[in-house]
Amino acid sequence: MILRSLLLRQGRFALPRSTLIRPFRRYLASQIEETYTNPHQHQQFIAGADGDATKSQAATSLSAESEVLDNDPVALNYALQQHSKAVTGKIGSMVEPHYRPHELLSNPPSPKDITLELLMASQSHIGHSTSLWHPANAKYIFGVRGEDGHPIHIISLDVTAAHLRRACKVVSGVTERGGLVLFVGSREGQARCVVNAASMSKGCHLFTKWIPGTITNGQQILGKCKKKVVNHKDEEVKGFEDQLIQKAAVKPDLVVCLNPLENYVLLHECALNNIPTVGIVDTDVNPTWITYPIPANDDSLRCVQLIAGVLGRAGQEGQAVRRELALTGQLPARQDHGLEPPAEQETDERNSRDKEHGRNLLQAGDV
């Protein structure tokens, strides 16, 4: 829901004029007014969350980036090729900005680029046949179109935009507070956008079948997964291995599902475990399965990649905010992990024991 700012109520000239330079993604867009900002957005929801709750030890430095040799022929060739492309690639005529499919994956739009024109161009207003609809979606539907006895429902794009912006706020809010987002999209062609979105949000991805019981029976299915402890700067902290053996696999704090019809088991498990879900709700999908539905077309790959890209960007923005806050000492991340700080004299013994036994733990995600 978009609330009008008080400024607008005073008169339409109270708002400053928008700048004439429009970025490419808003080239054909209609103007939007200010959106609602939550005055409680900085509230800490976990009691006792403060800067002293986690004890972070000295972290090992990250591996240095590979050095590019000055006289490496491959590097020289690549540099010449890139320079040539930059210098001569665009000479000749000015080509108008246009849609390029790979850009949805290589450079997805961010929440502020959501416009009705973009949603319509991505075919997100196209619903299913009217005979296949779920009546609970009536409030998302604009109308019926189509001839020759095959009418389809059209989804209201302003409703789609509003719900998508809300979902972006949810995703960025979760990542701001150190939550884990799981992106799921098991249809063909959705793998790449799911992986992109998860890596931008520093969450998890799934593009194959959801194994029933992964959350409800997690200790069995994910029992052998590797777990690690990270500090506020996302650097791994050693010393918790013994405590982690007993710990169950982490459950996601938010699940984003791009094809809810095929993943109803996943959504049911999330509901049983109080995990909120975000999902693309087509006209034939039951919207009650999902906490934050996004009414859109789940059959168009362009639409799905757009929504996944936008949600991934929202997660990225949340991660950036969290990193900034962590560097200044404010830690909004949840602190109810129940871990004890490891005793310091046992650290060396444990390190030497690890080297002797050479434990070989499975990586998370192996089945």
């Binding site: 006289n71 490496d72 022929p73 020289l76 060739n77 540099a79 010449l80 090729q81 320079h83 040539s84 210098v87 001569t88 690639g89 665009k90 000479i91 000749g92 005529s93 000015m94 080509v95 108008e96 246009h98």
Partner: protein, 316 residues
């Protein structure tokens, strides 16, 4: 014959189902309207100093009317033709260089190649000119690099201008940085893998070796079959298999003798550029004036890093 297809059927323009008998007798052509280009993919690219040039011409080279002919009007006609040729097709958003490379070997798309390559070359020519050009003395790294290949700057100037003056017919003369054909580094250092070269392209030929079949570097009217074959195939075929064999050369994406080439400077010798300001006999004077208005700072921006590093002199 290339026919231009109507973008909308004539019936769409009828405002009502009923037309009077007089209108029904009227010719179908007067009833149909070909809509104007609603969304043009290609536009004339903006030059950095376009405003100055439109007002005062290129100081020392072209008058305002000469600039209008050579750039404003001519580039617009090229861009319009490009839009016409690519409208409604998947290639309508392709850059001119990509169009030239894609259609270099397609004689059915010769017009498209010509206009794309000409638009590219013309823009390249004007992108090295400035109202207050930077002298080559102020860019010592580039000057040193050029001297390493040509000996002195006067030699470079003489070679380029004489080549351009003796070309019979319109075209371009390019100064390019080209990698050596053999991959093995000369003299043991991997930095000296290329040198400066001067290329000619007649009419709308392109300097890029990926479109080498349309480089048009020689005047075919002055050649016989042997010399033409020698020009087209720089290396004779070797062996039965592999990249250097006859079949390998035919299948290669890049024409034989092609290597990576980066143009940094060119002079446009088409008559419509200099005819108005210099007269029919003024080609040499035009070329001499052009040398004085090159902005070597802009040329240096196009030069690759490996070229402006001091390179040891290569004897080829």
């Amino acid at each position: 014959m290339i026919t231009r297809r109507l973008l909308r059927p004539a019936s769409a323009f009828a405002s009502s189902g009923w037309t009077c008998t007089a209108c029904a007798r009227a010719s179908i052509i007067s009833q149909t309207r070909i809509p104007q280009q609603q969304k043009r993919a290609h536009h004339v690219p903006p030059l950095t100093y376009d405003e100055t040039f439109t007002r005062a011409g290129i100081p020392g080279l072209l008058s305002p009317h000469g600039y209008l002919i050579a750039w404003s009007d001519y580039q617009e006609s090229l861009v319009n033709k490009l839009n016409e040729l690519t409208a409604g097709e998947p290639i309508e958003h392709a850059q001119t260089k990509d169009l030239a490379i894609q259609f270099a070997r397609d004689p059915m798309s010769a017009s498209l190649f010509n206009h794309a390559s000409m638009a590219h070359n013309n823009h390249f020519f004007f992108s090295t000119l400035a109202p207050v050009p930077l002298s080559l003395e102020k860019v010592p790294s580039l000057k040193q690099s050029l001297c390493n290949t040509f000996g002195t700057i006067d030699t470079l100037k003489a070679t380029m201008l004489d080549t351009a003056a003796t070309m019979f017919g319109p075209g371009y003369v390019w100064l390019v940085w080209a990698r050596n054909l053999d991959n093995a580094p000369v003299g043991g250092s991997s930095k000296s893998r290329g040198s400066w070269r001067i290329l000619t392209t007649y009419l709308a030929g392109t300097p890029y070796p990926e479109a080498g079949y349309r480089q048009q570097g020689i005047d075919a009217n002055n050649q016989n079959a042997h010399s033409y074959n020698d020009y087209m195939k720089a290396t004779p075929p070797v062996g039965m298999f592999g990249a250097h064999s006859k079949s390998g050369q035919e299948q290669a994406k890049m024409p034989p003798g092609g290597t990576q080439v980066l143009p940094v400077l060119c002079v446009n010798t088409w008559e419509h550029v200099w005819l108005r300001d210099y007269g029919i006999n003024g080609k040499r004077k035009y070329l001499a004036d052009w040398w004085g208005v090159i902005d070597w700072g802009l040329v240096e921006q196009k030069t690759p890093t490996e070229a402006s590093h001091p390179v040891e002199f290569i004897r080829s």
